[in-house]
Amino acid sequence: MTQAAVQTDTIEMTYREAVKQALRDAMKRDERVFLMGEDVGRYGGCYAVSHGLLAEFGPERIRDTPLSESGFTGAGIGAAMAGMRPIVELMTVNFSLLALDQILNTAATVRHMSGNQFGVPLVIRMATGAGRQLAAQHSHSLEGWYAHIPGIKVLAPATLEDARGMLWTALQDPDPVLIFENVMLYNMTGKLAADAGPVDIDKAAVRRAGRDISLITYGGSLWKTLEAASALAADGIEAEVIDLRSLRPLDDATIMASVGKTRRAVIVDEGWRSGSLAAEVGMRVVEQAFWSLDAPIGRVCSEEVPIPYPRHLENAAIPQAPKIVAAAKAALGRA
């Protein structure tokens, strides 16, 4: 993390604004960069992330597309292979399934199939997650599926620094990088250093240090997990909170160092429990830190149901701080 260690001037802004700054910065820095997606231009972005960029960079580089996810994602792949640095925006992770063929069968495989002759330096951004009462076709968290695929990298910026800093680093990557932005974070405000810039995209971060239990999470669940950690602290339990940041590759070293210290882990993942990223993280802990464990690994994931529309049911379907507190206490034998 290149989060300013020395206190510099900070600016209060939203996560949305941090993403926009990252886009603007990348467009300015590199002429090969362009943004392409549904309603990114005239509409200003479904989540208003690219609002104002069309006027600044014009329709060639802030390129509205028809509703052809596979077509324009594939176009992004081809443009990347031909020397451009496209940023493809898919409106939500649910819609990305219409482009899954291009992402999995082309973007992730070309380097390998071509014997390293061609690469796809493409960035695909998309919104993920529940919490806006958008029901069962707009609210899922499928980033764990993408993290299954060799050949791509998967990022989950949870903080303003990462929203601002991951994009440029991803654009420098010679391989496809998918960035998942949790919809509940766009309105989050915070302070960002005025000179905030690129950050690494392969390390997990310890967002709160603690000795009693490791709470491992990413994306939108980070803030609920930090809230849970504060609640636990009131009960004298010092939880360490790990923000994975990169879901593929996973930073095993940071995870194992934490679990080695606390000997307990609970994984918080907005994906469904079965076959989840949480399952992957948990299994790695078992493989690599089994002899350090003092309790069964816990998971707080989404319930096994399509995300429902009513607020109370939606809230109940996804991880929340009280569930995280309960899972942590169970792992500590204090349930």
Partner: protein
């Protein structure tokens, strides 16, 4: 071979070269089929038997800097494009010396040196990629032509329509070449499309479109010259439907339950090599010794390619996970012509 006039120059030399390329593909693939039965080549093997006139008619019209996207039935395209036969054969074997290091096999021939963007084995999957190559050229201004080959089966895929729309909408220099062999594996065109006149679908997107007899290499070349010139000059897509016929099965393991032998035999009488060779002989543009010389040269080239593949090396298993991500010392990103 890269003459840019919109009319083929029907010199004897050029005619012999067209014939030679078609025979070269045919004999190479005959050898592949033989090697397949000997288990030297595995996986899927899709042969181009009967369709040679399309690749031979279109690809030599392109310039070296232009880019090509092909399908899983792409041996002919790779050979005509100039990917060395020995590296193609080594790829069929899965050897390290193959044009894709053996990682791709028959369906995934790639060659950066000739801007050959690969055999894509997802039907329709190559079209968006070609659109992207065209978009890059649109933004970079290199004035390239992107030739995208696909079969008529791809027409049923959403990606076909998305891609034609995007290319037309954004004015991208993509030459769509539909190799209509009338069967998507075993499904005849008439039972999968409401509109079987495929080039009309392209017209509906405002793309200039024509259909051509894909069994006539001269006709294909003539159409390709028109098309390539139009794309290069107008910076707009162009759609060429080449009506052809696959004489062999879809792949090696296909009993062809879906069509009559009589239909295949009838088509065989009109297949592009027989037809072109007959025409040349009738017009006394070819002598028997020309033919035997061509065949001898090709057989020697094939023998050399087989020997090369046979003596090729298997990639060490220790390297299994390579080429999933870029390696700092071996990155081949964004190769420019």
């Amino acid at each position: 071979m890269t003459a840019r006039a919109d009319k083929p120059h029907l010199s004897r030399e050029h005619m012999l070269e067209l014939l030679r390329q078609m025979i070269r593909i045919r004999r190479f693939e005959d050898k592949c089929a033989e090697l397949y039965t000997q288990e030297k080549i595995r996986g899927f093997l899709h042969l181009y038997d009967g369709e040679e006139a399309v690749a031979v008619g279109v690809i030599p019209v392109l310039e070296k800097r232009d880019r090509i996207v092909a399908t899983y039935r792409e041996h002919g395209h790779a050979l005509v494009r100039g990917v060395p036969m020995k590296t193609v054969m080594a790829e069929m074997y899965g050897k390290q010396e193959g044009c894709s290091r053996g990682r791709g096999g028959s369906m995934h021939l790639f060659d950066a040196a000739t801007n050959f963007y690969g055999g894509n084995a997802i039907v329709g999957g190559g079209l968006p990629l070609a659109v992207g190559l065209g978009l890059a050229d649109h933004m970079q201004g290199h004035n390239l032509v992107i030739a995208c080959f696909f079969g008529e089966g791809a027409v049923a895929e959403g990606e076909f329509h998305e891609s034609l729309n995007l290319a037309a909408l954004w004015g991208l220099p993509v030459l769509f070449v539909c190799e209509n062999n009338f069967y998507a594996m075993g499904t005849a065109l008439a039972i999968s499309e409401s509109e079987t006149d495929i080039h009309r679908k392209a017209e509906s997107y405002g793309v200039v479109s024509e259909a051509v007899d894909g069994m006539d290499v001269v006709a294909v070349e003539a159409a390709a010259r028109r098309a390539v010139q139009a794309v290069r000059e107008n910076r707009k897509p162009y759609f060429l439907e080449c009506r052809t016929y696959r004489l062999r099965a879809h792949s090696m393991f296909d009993p062809q339950l879906y069509r009559d032998k009589a239909e295949v035999e009838a088509r065989r009488k009109n297949e592009p090599i027989v037809r072109f060779q007959g025409w040349l002989q009738a017009n006394q543009m070819i002598h028997p010794e020309d033919l035997s010389r061509i065949e001898a040269e090709i057989d020697a080239e094939i023998a050399e390619a087989v020997a090369f593949a046979e003596t090729g090396t298997w990639e060490p298993v220790e390297q299994l996970t390579r080429f999933t991500y870029a390696e700092s010392d071996a990155s081949a990103i964004g190769k420019m012509p």
